[in-house]
């Protein structure tokens, strides 16, 4: 292996290019080989034989946005934990207590969204603390 640090990442790039090439080739091959005899019924959105009413560009539950926002928050937390985990043996107890404070703060937020009912999906049981 060459000494250059970035050379180690070169194979990932090669691998990704080959995978991209393969994916493109499959789609193209299917497009070239496969036949196409479209009819109106085939081209309409599939709704189990019902005549479609409107399209799918409609509003959907705000819960999905909330989950996405929570994901960003908690994933950033997880990302902070990774480098800490790798050097914990050197940090010893000091590192443990420092991170315990951090996790404690995160858990306060977690407890708050839990009690606010952000984690409850639909149903009658979500009466209190609706967002």
């Amino acid at each position: 292996m060459p000494d250059n640090y970035f050379a180690r990442y070169l194979p990932i790039l090669i691998h990704f290019s080959l995978a991209a090439l393969l994916a493109t080739a499959i789609v193209l091959l299917s497009w070239i080989i496969g036949y196409r005899r479209p009819t109106r019924a085939k081209l309409s959105p599939y709704e189990c034989g019902m005549t479609p009413v409107g399209d799918a560009r409609q509003r959907f539950s705000v819960k999905f946005y909330l989950v996405a926002m929570l994901f960003i928050l908690f994933d950033v937390e997880a990302v902070f934990l990774y480098p800490w985990a790798v050097i914990l043996r050197d940090l010893k107890m000091f590192g443990f207590w420092e991170m315990l404070v951090y996790i404690g703060i995160v858990l306060v937020g977690f407890f708050y969204i839990w009690k606010k009912g952000v984690l409850d999906w639909g149903g009658a049981s979500t009466g209190r603390g609706e967002v």
Binding site: P2, Y9, I12, A23, L29, A68, F74
Partner: protein
């Protein structure tokens, strides 16, 4: 080794890896149909070749010759890009996964992995989490209600379980002290008292192992977390509007992701390629790869076994389970592991 040799060796390894992975994908579909068939007291595929072994090839050929429709109501660029993205990321995620020791062929010394980088685990997690784009974009660009619902469900589910998955690995990182998958496996060499292997699962990471496995099942949209493609309510979920090879590509991506998950579970928790070595030098060189393959096969079998056994979750149960049970458990596991390691060091 100079740069040219390095690139040639990398290309050869990549081509072999992609070939092996695609074959494994095709045959895990065959395995799944066969095993689920036997679980349900059926035979599974038997007609094409002995034991239906040529079935994957026949399926592939059939998918190629099928009608490749692009309905007029879809958003075309993303509709075509979505299955390509799914397959690309699924195939790339194996690029840093090691399958055995360092081998020497002639005068070229190379690890049995495409590349050994010091942030290997982060790269796998990063690339696999990009896979959500394929699903979300497929659901949205199809402009069909079933697809949209399937895509939304899948994205919300994948991001929710990704947190538990990520946090369950922190315990392993604390024990190994490195992101490199090779270093993590090397840290699990040896035994306790001569007979219990020092795998992470026996080093107190058994809870993390089950959290990882559960979250990974949800991450790959498999039973019992296959709500995005719940056929009784959503027809086929995010790939309802797809046909021919584009339809098959989502399955290729799903099975490739399953294999990545199985590889990671073996590497991080079950000691990777460690196992008894015996016999002549050639056998000793091949055995680690065999032990690793055996573990991966076991995880794939458990995937299929679970599919043949468990019913599907309800969506609110799924979300509650991920956020209210797995996440606190993962945090508790990492705090306890950190405490023990900090006291010992």
């Amino acid at each position: 080794m100079n740069l040219t040799t390095f690139i040639i060796v990398s290309v050869i390894k990549t081509v072999i890896a992609l070939f092996v992975l695609l074959t494994a994908v095709a045959y895990s579909v065959w395995l799944e149909r066969k095993v689920v068939g036997h679980i349900q007291n059926r035979w599974g595929p038997t007609r094409v070749g002995p034991f239906g072994l040529l079935q994957p090839l026949a399926d592939g050929a059939k998918f190629l010759f099928k009608e490749d429709l692009i309905p007029p109501h879809v958003y075309k660029p993303l509709y075509i890009a979505a299955p390509m993205l799914a397959v690309m990321f699924a195939l790339t995620s194996i690029s840093v996964i090691p399958i055995g020791n360092v081998v020497t062929i002639g005068n070229i010394k190379t690890p049995l992995q495409i590349t050994d980088v010091n942030i290997g685990l982060l790269i796998v997690l990063g690339i696999t989490s990009l896979g959500v784009y394929g699903v979300a974009l497929a659901g949205w660009s199809s402009n069909s209600k079933y697809s949209l619902l399937g895509g939304l469900r899948a994205s919300a589910q994948m991001v929710s379980y990704e947190i538990s998955l990520g946090l369950s690995l922190v315990g392993v990182l604390i024990l190994a002290g490195s992101f490199s998958l090779r270093a993590i496996v090397d840290a699990q060499a040896g035994t306790f008292w001569g007979f219990i292997p020092r795998w992470n699962i026996f080093q107190g990471q058994i809870i993390a192992f089950f959290i990882y496995l559960t979250a990974a099942y949800a991450e790959t949209n498999r039973v019992p977390f296959d709500l995005p493609e719940a056929e009784t309510e959503l027809v086929a979920g995010y790939h309802t509007e797809y046909s021919a090879m584009k339809f098959a590509m989502f399955f290729m991506a799903e099975y490739a992701n399953m294999i990545t998950v199985a590889c990671l579970a073996s590497l991080l928790f079950l000691g990777g390629w460690h196992g008894p070595l015996f016999g002549p030098p050639l056998l000793q060189a091949i055995l680690p790869v065999f032990w690793f393959g055996l573990r991966v096969f076991m995880f794939l079998f458990i995937y299929i076994w679970v599919r043949g056994t468990l019913p599907r979750f309800r969506y609110d149960q799924l979300m509650a389970f991920g956020w209210k049970f797995l996440l606190p458990m993962a945090i508790a596991n990492l705090v306890i592991t950190a405490l023990i390691v900090a006291i010992r060091s």
